[in-house]
């Protein structure tokens, strides 16, 4: 026997040290990670901007940017809120669909459709910094 630990605690301590000697901790993300992940978001927000000016969402050529330049007047910080046009409290993505179906005369997107995610990314990015005000009309 080359090595004999004198206490149980010492054994445990040595095991721990061995286990964690080379693996990074799950919650120790770095500035580099933050920048990467923000960049990932920006890619999708950019897609959202492209959709914002795309006639493909509707069937009549009308685009979101016509009434909402720079996504102004969309008020993402106020959702969920009572949406008169739907008769109930609704989330942002549902109102996006209302606009796609009504002024744009198009078909609604699923909540997890990449296009819907991108649109929400763009809308919220243009509204960054504004305090949350859920329910506000």
């Amino acid at each position: 026997m080359a090595f004999r630990p004198t206490t149980l605690l010492a054994t445990a301590a040595l095991s721990f040290a061995a286990l964690f000697a080379t693996a990074a901790r799950a919650d120790e993300f770095t500035t580099k990670n933050v920048d990467e992940w923000q960049a990932q978001f920006d890619i999708v927000a950019k897609d959202g901007r492209a959709l914002w000016t795309s006639p493909e969402l509707g069937t009549n050529g009308v685009v979101c940017a016509q009434c909402h330049p720079n996504a102004a007047n969309t008020h993402p910080e106020t959702y969920p809120k009572f949406q008169k046009q739907m008769g109930r409290v609704a989330a942002l993505w549902e109102m996006v669909n209302w606009c796609i179906e009504n002024p744009l005369e198009g078909k609604a997107l699923a909540a997890d459709d990449p296009k819907m995610i991108a649109i929400q990314a763009y809308v919220t990015k243009e509204r960054r910094g504004v305090a949350l005000a859920p329910g506000k009309h």
Binding site: G61, Q66, C67, P69, N73, Q85, E126
Partner: protein, 355 residues
């Protein structure tokens, strides 16, 4: 509209009513009635072609309704102005369809150029339909000037794009970072100086322009690059009124002798620049905003207007659908335009909160 119709009807003879439609009325308490008159203003219809003979129904309905209501006006307006952006992408189909709808108006029409009409073919088809891009005319002692104020730098107009269609597409996006600021330009400024040299400083001047002839928010081209130069040319005149379109919302302002008033779009409303959180803008402080729209009602926050010229100053009466109408009149005591109901902050209503 808040005017005592019964009083008016009692004070005029029966013959006025025959064939006339006493739906909207101009105040009759004028000092010199021959110098006061009304004209109608319809603007920013953005007729948008889809395919074949299909157009975006929403914008078509806006123009149809404005024309129908203007035809109901009594007393009849002296003429009608169209404030620009008849078409959305300046195509022949759109200009023809728009012109056809305007032809239902029972009055003489004067046209103002908008960028959506211009950048496809630099106004060539527009001239065929409507005539010159800038001009002046006199009416009952008032000198009217129409400017083409949506021009831009030559380089952008002539050298940047592969086709007129691409150029028009780029200018069509209000928030497009590839756009270029509007201007009147040196040629028209020179023409304007000469045109105004013929009239006395006391003559009332009304300038029609698509862009605001002010610098409000560059990001959305609520902007005229040579605004200060134009204002300097107009400054010597005692009563100048600028009426502009493009912004699709109520705005008004006073700079020196010059009163500025925007007109509503018939097509759709635009947000106020202060509602874009990422940029600074300079909405005229005087402005009491229009009501926020419920997008279910396609005509909400759209409308048309008629303008009373009253002792050389303009009062705008905005006819708004699904909302109370608004009147922005020149306040002689304060020497600036003011909303007759809501200018006092204590009178504002919730619907005027924009954020």
């Amino acid at each position: 509209m808040g005017i005592d119709r019964r009083g008016f009807l009692k004070s005029v003879s029966g013959t006025l009513l025959a064939g006339a439609l006493p739906v909207t009325l101009v105040e009759l308490a004028f000092a010199k009635s021959s110098e006061n008159f009304t004209f109608a203003y319809i603007s920013d219809s953005h007729i948008q072609h889809i395919k074949g003979n299909k157009f975006v129904r929403n914008w078509d309905r806006g123009l149809l309704r404005a024309v129908a209501e203007t035809n109901l006006m009594t007393p009849k307006p002296d003429f009608v102005m169209f404030g620009g952006d008849l078409a959305q992408l300046g195509t022949r189909e759109e200009l023809d369809h728009g012109a056809e709808m305007l032809s239902a108006l029972s009055y003489k029409i004067h046209m103002v150029m908008g960028e959506h009409d211009y950048y496809l073919d630099l106004g060539e088809y527009w001239s065929e339909l409507f005539g010159p891009h800038y001009y002046s005319f006199d009416h009952k002692g008032v000198h009217f000037v129409v400017l083409n104020s949506i021009l831009t730098y030559d380089d952008w107009t002539y050298n940047r794009w592969e086709s007129g269609k691409q150029r028009m597409g780029e200018m069509a996006g209000l928030d497009n970072p590839n756009g270029s600021p509007f201007m009147v330009g040196e040629k028209q400024r020179t023409w304007l100086k000469q045109d105004l040299a013929k009239i006395s400083k006391d003559t009332s001047v009304v300038v029609f322009s698509h862009s605001p002839l002010q610098k409000i928010y560059k990001g959305w081209n609520f902007w005229t690059e040579d605004a200060e130069d134009i204002q300097a040319i107009l400054a010597p005149f005692n009563q100048v009124n600028v009426v502009y379109g493009h912004v699709h919302q109520i705005q008004y302002n006073q700079i020196g002798n010059i009163a500025f008033n925007s007109v509503m779009a018939t097509a759709w409303p635009w947000p106020y620049p202060e509602s874009y959180a990422q940029a600074e803008s300079h909405l005229p402080v005087l402005t009491v905003p229009m009501n926020r729209a419920d997008p279910f009602f396609e005509r909400d926050a759209t409308g048309w207007q008629f303008i009373d010229v009253n002792t050389g100053r303009v009062d705008l009466r905005y006819n708004l659908y699904d909302n109370s109408s608004r009147t922005v009149a020149f306040n002689d005591a304060k020497r600036r335009p003011e909303d007759t109901a809501y200018q006092n902050p204590a009178n504002r209503i919730k619907a005027q909160d924009h954020y």
